[in-house]
């Protein structure tokens, strides 16, 4: 038995109480793992944004269309390199629960502006030559067992066909992958051609959902955004131009400020955890005053006792915390599976661990220091006499 044995002997002095305390720590850190995983996915969407891309939407609302004529006027602004446009389709594959984003895009420009989308040469070629061609993300293809050459139907929810038919048919011509493992944005999406979409729909022809503008110098993004919006000021179709990052952040904020919500919840959880474990720890040490006095009698120094009691607090937090984060690492992928592609793949990342472990140590210090201090200052003769 070494000092570690002493620490654990102290920790499991009252096993059932320690088990309950551990359970509350495990619960808190499981929750932390889940929420932090979700938070990171949202902040990552912003991280993955291209710095050289601006998003132009209607000033009124993100779902308000813009005239296609804006394109040529935007193109004249100095510093604008390339323009693509896109429209939300909102089609359903077989069942509403199979939701995934499906978007009509201008094929050449969209792919050029988004170099992070990795395609085979054949797929790129086929997309440019097939009017009904569609590109699907790798996760999506895996989920529905789609292969190149499959023809798939989507039920329109916003855009019925001229023919009166609500079913649009698409031919899968390529699978989209991404260069960066962490950027899974396109893995769960489907892209298809704007011309097929625009000619087929019954209304709003000649309009655009949003423009994606590539600029030559990212440092000028504010100026160019202002210039675009100024161009259409006081027109029927005023615009709102943002960097892609701001756009993504704003999009994520539709669901609320995830970071703030997570911080608030975790703040409350950890505060409660502090109260609970702090109280138990203090009580446990109070009961063990005579034992600690015996250790001092035997010659264990004040600092050693400080270390032993602090060690108990750290051991408890680390044990419970790692168990909790471990549980979250198992649970989080299951959660994202159950969302079926609506959320990017969730997992407990290295970032969560590197935030979690200092948190465990910090909580351990806060909980452990007062009783450790008390153990250190303990006067043997008083403690032995029960004073």
């Amino acid at each position: 038995m070494g000092y570690l044995g002493l620490v654990f002997a102290g920790l499991f002095h009252k096993p059932s109480r320690t088990a309950l305390t551990l359970l509350s720590i495990v619960t808190a850190f499981t929750l932390f793992g889940f929420l932090d995983g979700i938070r990171l996915v949202f902040s990552r969407a912003a991280d993955n944004s291209g710095t050289d891309r601006l998003i132009v939407t209607s000033r009124l609302s993100i779902i308000q269309p813009l005239p296609i004529a804006h394109r040529n006027r935007i193109a004249q602004i100095p510093g604008v390199a390339q323009i693509a446009y896109a429209n939300w389709f909102g089609g359903i594959y077989q069942d509403r629960r199979n939701f995934f984003p499906n978007i009509a895009v201008t094929p050449v420009e969209f792919l050029a502006i988004h170099p992070e989308i990795v395609l085979s040469d054949e797929a790129r070629e086929a997309f440019l030559t097939t009017r009904t061609g569609a590109l699907v993300g790798s996760a999506l293809a895996q989920k529905f067992r789609w292969k190149i050459g499959n023809r798939i139907p989507l039920q329109a929810t916003i855009w019925p066909q001229k023919s009166g038919n609500n079913t649009w048919l698409f031919d899968i011509v390529g699978i989209m992958r991404t260069r960066d493992e962490r950027n899974q944005q396109y893995a769960g999406e489907m892209l298809f051609r704007y011309d097929y979409f625009d000619e087929g729909r019954t209304n709003s022809q000649g309009t655009v959902g949003w423009y994606i503008v590539r600029i030559e110098d990212p440092a000028l993004s504010n100026e160019i955004a202002l210039a675009i919006d100024r161009l259409f000021a006081n027109s029927d179709s005023e615009t709102k131009t943002q960097s892609e990052k701001d756009f993504n952040l704003a999009f994520a904020k539709q669901f609320g400020d995830i970071g703030l919500i997570v911080s608030a919840i975790m703040g409350a959880v950890f505060f409660t955890l502090l109260l609970v474990t702090g109280h138990t720890m203090t009580q446990a040490i109070r009961e063990r005053i005579p034992q600690l006095a015996v250790l001092k009698t035997l010659g264990f120094s004040d600092v050693t006792l400080l270390g032993v009691v602090l060690g108990e607090a750290f051991a408890m937090m680390l044990l419970g915390g790692c168990l909790g984060l471990g549980l979250a690492s198992i649970g989080l992928p299951l959660l994202s599976d159950s969302f079926g592609g609506q959320l990017p793949p969730l997992s407990v990342s290295a970032r969560s661990w590197s935030l979690g472990i200092p948190l465990m140590l910090g909580l351990g210090a806060i909980v452990g220091l007062p009783p450790a201090w008390r153990a250190m200052r303990l006067r043997i003769v008083d403690a032995l006499a029960g004073r």
Partner: protein, 237 residues
Amino acid sequence: MTVDPPLPTAMVVMRGITKAYQRGNQPVEVLHDIDLDIPKGDFVALMGPSGSGKTTLLNLIGGLDKPTSGTVTVAGRRLDQLTSGELAHWRSTSVGFVFQFYNLLPMLSAQKNVELPLLLTPLSGAERRRHASIALELVGLAGRARHRPQELSGGEEQRVAIARALVSDPQLLVCDEPTGDLDRHTADEILSLLQMLNAEFGKSIVMVTHDPRAAEYARHQIHLDKGILVPAPTHGA
């Protein structure tokens, strides 16, 4: 104050010891100007009425507390001059403690309780285990090494405590009413054990006791009354 040089054969030398406790704002003197010599190899019973200061005096001898004034020399070391850290180290090498209520750690086995003081030594884990086994054997508890304190009788617990006091091979044992919580028969066994440690292993022992029968196991008796050493009362107990 002049201090006599301690005799090479002296285990405990106390000169002019006073001890005062703070009670509220009032200092209360519990020991008054005590001089005491205990030679090496002695077995002394320290007796006296409740509250007379026996535990206080024993704590000074064992280096658990420091006197308000006076000098304490134990095994050649001036304890009154040591810092609390130095005292802690001194205790770990030079003195073993036995208490009335055994004071074993309940979550550790007998073996591990006995090993505990050896954590403070440079001994390896294997050596610590071996020393602890020897000490347990010495007190006749080799067969109980794996038991926890709650699985042992009072007498057995006290034997474990004695093994723990012995394990780092100190020359001095201080015992505060070691049989105070035991029945007469078990008390006799424990006292015989202490007697054996004194006679066969040359351990110096200072034992506080209320019980005149227990005191008879010692070689000498000293009596404390209201904080002063007094001649043995002749009127018996």
